[in-house]
């Protein structure tokens, strides 16, 4: 896949804060690229530079679009679901979508037709003429999501697309974003639901305090974070968590309850040695092994003590 957006050494300085400090990454055409990090990590500042709302103080952005190279994603090629949600609550669903589509260059008729098709797809067609204020938070989020992709952008930035959704609608949104990707759209995703991001993102960039911390596929992130497996252990008596933490190859112990704990293992840890250190499993009533997830990597990379 070729790159569609390349950034090098981006810097953004506000009055007393360096919000972005040497961030560089490349997003490939047609992939889902997740930009993650805690609050204040520099995600929003980076996104605002990508869409041209602010200019970088240093570094460069190159977007390789249909109209050539530009220093930000051009409005016609951009679909944007901002972190700050915003809809005209006093207006009808259909009118609002049609207006937002027209602002992205769609003809009024086309915008209306496509909006109706999307509303039907997301089970909102019967509410098209209602005011947005009459919709639930989840349905408003669906409208917001439609507004971001209605004009079939080449590049979509979806900031917290799952916000306000129940698990069923989260699944719906997840499949929708996958479909958009499969249809050729490049997606820059930012979300705090790590399990969903893990399932969705092709590649991930983890930021902390304005700087890149980890980047790559989930497997690369695991490797770079030095983590491999998560062992969930159940004991038939109270466990000594301090002893567990001292076992070679264990990076961290998460106390689940008195008789349960989860161990994070280094990527070079030997499972047999770890189990032997537990007394050959004499005290164990159950062992479950999983690959380390994004949640653990995230906490290890940007959590307290990182």
């Amino acid at each position: 896949m070729d790159d569609v957006l390349i950034t090098n050494s981006l810097v953004k300085q506000y009055a007393t804060v360096r919000a972005v400090d040497g961030v560089g990454f490349a997003i490939r055409r047609g992939e889902i690229f997740a930009l993650l990090g805690p609050n204040g990590a520099g995600k929003t500042s980076t996104v605002r530079m990508l869409i041209g709302q602010t200019q970088p103080d240093a570094g460069e952005i190159r977007y390789l679009g249909a109209q050539g190279t530009s220093a930000s994603v051009p409005p016609r090629e951009l679909g944007y679901l901002p972190e700050e949600r915003g809809l005209y609550l006093d207006q009808s669903v259909l009118r609002t979508l049609s207006y937002l589509g027209q602002l992205r260059g769609m003809a009024p008729k086309t915008a209306g037709e496509k909006a109706m098709a999307w509303l039907e797809r997301l089970s909102l067609a019967d509410r098209a003429k209602e005011k947005i204020s009459a919709l639930s938070k989840g349905n408003q989020q669906k409208v917001q999501l439609i507004a971001a992709v209605l004009h079939e952008p080449r590049f979509a930035i979806l900031d917290e697309p799952f916000s306000g959704f129940d698990p069923i609608n989260q699944e719906l949104a997840l499949n929708l974003i996958r479909e958009l990707r499969d249809g050729g759209m490049t997606v820059l995703l930012s979300a705090h639901q790590m399990q969903l991001v893990e399932r969705l993102a092709d590649r991930i960039l983890l930021l902390n305090q304005g700087r890149p911390v980890l980047s790559g596929t989930l497997a690369q992130l695991r490797r770079d974070a030095g983590l491999s497996q998560r062992l969930t252990l159940s004991f038939d008596r109270d466990a000594d968590h301090d002893t567990l933490a001292a076992i070679p190859g264990v990076v961290a112990v998460e106390r689940l309850n008195d008789r349960q704990a989860a161990l994070l293992l280094k990527d070079d840890a030997n499972l047999n040695q770890v189990l032997s250190a537990l007394g050959g499993g004499a005290m164990l009533s159950n062992v479950q092994s999983d690959a380390v997830g994004l949640h653990e990597i995230y906490l290890r990379a940007v959590g307290p003590g990182a």
Binding site: P75, L78, E84, L87, Y88, Y99, L103
Partner: protein, 394 residues
């Protein structure tokens, strides 16, 4: 793209159903007021008052045609039962006249006919005095008339505006005031609600800020013009009604020439563009519409129009001439001057050009404040910060 925004802004607040409902309500109120007022007038004019008079002086009452008062002269022997009739409300008043200087009036309730009775007594007393002096009443009448003073102006001089012209100009200023207040209301509602709904980022990622503010300016100015057009239509209907039912009153109204209309329209359009740009910038800095100190600034555009009212009586004053040039006030003052006095022809295009230039600058600088203001949540910029936005573009 600015027309897409303009149409959206206009249609956000213009709703046919509500518009027609408003017209229907206005017509209903007008009808009720007209009918109520006519019924009151009919009731008032058809009312008759009976007054008993015990006159020991010998006054002669000359009742006008269709007088509401009927006089019944009584003898002293009738005084007791006439007093009782007043008490029972069977007659309205009992007047006892014992000298030319005073009369005692016995009443059952406050008299609606007091001034008519006073006039009747005055005239009767005056006639006695005139007869005593040997003067005819008609001659005395002519002496007391004011001397006719016919004003003529030299052909090289300048005739003042008529009362009718002033009335038209007052109508123009009220119209302007309505336009300014309409725009104020819509800008305030539109922008503060957009800030509260946080649509800014979404819109600005799609179109440039200047396009957004331009679209808003056009859309909301059109709402102001629509409001003024509606009022003009109402005024036209009222004028039509006056022309049908009171032609003598209609004849006193000033006539509006096409040139005055054009000058008025030109300055209305430029003035609204100028002040609406200002409103857009200020509204974007308001964080909490209920408690913001900035809300008062939104009333500034009404000041020029308010200032123009006292100038109606002295449209040639030097201060008025200067204010008709200054872009802050020319929107209201130049059309007033043009309608009421002779303005050298070159002054109008020059003042309009000056205002147009200021529209350009105001639009540019207001959009800088707008851009910065729309991204500020939870705080309002200080005036120093706003000045920095103007200078450095936020």
């Amino acid at each position: 793209m600015r027309w897409v925004v303009a149409k959206w802004e206009f249609m956000r607040y213009f709703k046919w159903k509500e518009e027609l409902m408003g017209i229907a309500v206005m017509l209903g109120i007008g009808l009720v007021m007209t009918l109520g007022s006519a019924a009151f007038e009919w009731s008032k004019s058809s009312q008759r008052y009976s007054v008993a008079v015990l006159d020991s002086v010998g006054l002669e009452f000359k009742l006008p045609e269709r007088s509401q008062i009927s006089i019944e002269r009584i003898a002293a022997s009738d005084l007791t039962w006439k007093t009782e009739q007043v008490g029972l409300g069977q007659i309205d008043a009992l007047v006892t006249i014992e000298s030319l200087d005073s009369a005692e009036v016995l009443l059952h309730k406050e008299p609606a006919f007091k001034s008519a009775l006073q006039s009747l007594l005055d005239n009767a007393r005056r006639d006695v005095a005139l007869r005593g002096a040997g003067i005819e009443a008609e001659r005395f009448e002519s002496w007391t008339q004011p001397m006719a003073m016919n004003l003529r102006y030299h052909e090289s001089g300048e005739a003042p505006a008529s009362q009718g012209d002033r009335l038209i100009v007052i109508g123009f200023l009220l119209l302007l005031l309505s336009g300014v207040f309409t725009c104020f209301a819509y800008f305030f509602t539109s922008i503060t609600s957009e800030k509260q709904a946080r649509v800014t980022e979404q819109i600005i990622s799609a179109i440039p800020v200047q396009t957004w503010i331009d679209g808003k300016l056009i859309g909301i100015s059109l709402l102001g013009i629509k409001s003024m057009a509606t009022l003009t239509l109402w005024a036209g209907l009222v004028a039509f009604g006056v022309a049908q039912f009171a032609p003598e009153l209609y004849a006193k109204l000033g006539r509006v020439g096409a040139d005055k209309v054009l000058v008025g329209l030109l300055f209305i359009l430029l003035g609204l563009a100028f002040w609406n740009s200002f409103l857009a910038g200020i509204a974007a800095t308001i964080d909490d519409p209920n408690n913001s100190t900035r809300s008062a600034l939104m009333l500034v555009p009404s000041i020029p129009t308010m200032l123009a009212f006292p100038m109606l009586s002295h449209p040639d004053n030097l201060a008025v001439v200067i204010m008709s040039w200054i872009p802050l006030t020319s929107m209201a003052v130049m059309p007033v001057r043009y309608a009421l006095t002779d303005v050298p022809w070159w002054e109008v295009p020059c003042a309009a050009a000056l205002l147009a230039c200021c529209v350009f600058w105001m639009r540019k600088y207001a959009s800088r404040i707008f851009r910065a203001g729309m991204f500020l949540y939870g705080k309002e910029p200080s005036f120093r910060e706003m000045w920095a936005f103007v200078r450095h573009g936020g």
